[in-house]
Symmetry: C2
Amino acid sequence: MEEKKRVTFDDIAKYTKFSKTTISRYFNDPGSLTEKSQHIISDALEKLDYHENRVARILAMGKTEFIGVIVPEFYHRFYSEVLNQILATYETFGYKFLVFIGNNNKESERRYIRELLSYQIEGMIVLSHTLSSRELSKFPIPVVAIEREDQFVCSVNTDNESGGRQAAALLQELQCDVLIHINAPIDHCIPAYDRIRGFRDYCQSNGLPYEIILRELDRSYEVDQAILKDILGEWDRKYAHQKIGVFLANDTTANTLLNLIIRRYGYLPKEYSIIGFDNSPTSREAIIPLSTVGQQVDRLAHEAVRLLVDQIKARKQGKTLAESPPVHKIVPPILFRRGTAGGMDVI
Amino acid sequence: MEEKKRVTFDDIAKYTKFSKTTISRYFNDPGSLTEKSQHIISDALEKLDYHENRVARILAMGKTEFIGVIVPEFYHRFYSEVLNQILATYETFGYKFLVFIGNNNKESERRYIRELLSYQIEGMIVLSHTLSSRELSKFPIPVVAIEREDQFVCSVNTDNESGGRQAAALLQELQCDVLIHINAPIDHCIPAYDRIRGFRDYCQSNGLPYEIILRELDRSYEVDQAILKDILGEWDRKYAHQKIGVFLANDTTANTLLNLIIRRYGYLPKEYSIIGFDNSPTSREAIIPLSTVGQQVDRLAHEAVRLLVDQIKARKQGKTLAESPPVHKIVPPILFRRGTAGGMDVI
């Protein structure tokens, strides 16, 4: 491409007949202008072929406004929803997101992070479980964790214990003979472990018959389906003619179980109550809308970005990361009563 | 953080006892080293607290290795799957991805792109339909479109016409009395329009009774459900006792229709055959695994990144974008016969 004379704010102001202050606001706080003004300036930038170069600014101020986001996988729609909501904060905070899906490859994740650091990104949001929070805390930029082990870094988590208790309380209210929680054998230091703890504690302190089933779930739909089919078979022997209340670790697994039951009976027998976790799109799009302990994904994402931006700003004011202990924010879950447990079954 | 002496390749080579060439390969072609060597070097970088600074390199060489990716939404899991596969090419091509979800907001998308340009990103992959390919072609970097209007930019698309024909051929083979295609009233210049054309052409040239139903679908599960419920009601009157073969524009809509039918009957009556499009996870996780015209998402993503990287390299060798006409690559679709049309119904 041929080199052109650089277009300045002056040129844009002259062309649009707006003041230079207005042009500056377009770049730094566009929401403060009317849609019409934004449109006029946007058109002018096209016409004038304006291209800002911020690379010099990166060198001068160390300000890239890039944030790295590391997501473990997309099998659970919770993760794509969190990513969706994180990306949506662009309108509010102006940060751009470099996204990576870890797929549990530690070496690859490390190399990616190191590369991002070389480009002077300003912070990271980590949802993957691959690297320890101790390792994350040693990177020279602020890190915020969402729903993962977070001892040494800031984090935003759902109140998982409350979620487990709410699920048990609903199954109690529905007068289930036995309350069952199905989960993977997850580590105690992962926030989601508190779903197990909350459920068990509620059952114990209320004297409710319960069972915790831990299996190697969450690998693929087909694997999960085979595991849940076995579990259903066990229940036929163990809990014949009893009313079974099942709370599952996430909507994806809850949907898999629901599909198996509907395939068998053609409907959801009143002997079964099913509750998922997350309120991911899967729960609303299930054959019968799934009751679920909803994570407030928009709030989790928004709080995580805000917490990170606050830390980035604090660092620029000269505070080191070591000066303040990690902040852990908690977002309450919301119970949704739908067709599979205690809700109206509207279609 | 206190300033430290910069760690060099020499320091890393001395520490690990590898040659400087090996250290250089770790950064530029890590796959050529054994996993063990990678691990030793990776650990050394931690120990030595190595932080490369590539910002100077951006200024010197204009090489950021950043690519912008613009996705329209995540309601259709096709988009999250394409993103997943694009991000996975990091291992092959080394490019990092700045991701944005457009949500059909033209002004916001423009502003985002302009900002990315100011950071010297090297190319863009666009899946959203918001900006015209003419506008995209005027940006000073290569652009590759996936499954969107692509007259003025390079693109990678599925052979949608073949997909439409394959769906019609399967419904013919299943001896349906009427072949129905449900889609949204999409623009003729969008590749997905060819699904309608391929289906219609096949029906016409084979003298098959068919109907094309175009409705404002793809907004939300609840809206789509209401629209499809109406359509099912019309069929009761119009096609009573006939065998209906339905081909839907995507797996998401096909799943919504399947759920409505199973909710009504408790099973899929032999009067209905259903085929979706995409082979997104939704098709495998449906209550009955959905037959679908599968897009080869991994190939679409890989070809798109490769095409973009080729263009980026060509530009660095001095070729301007205008010199070569846009390249349009076509990836064939693969028909999956599953429980809802012509397949084995295994659970």
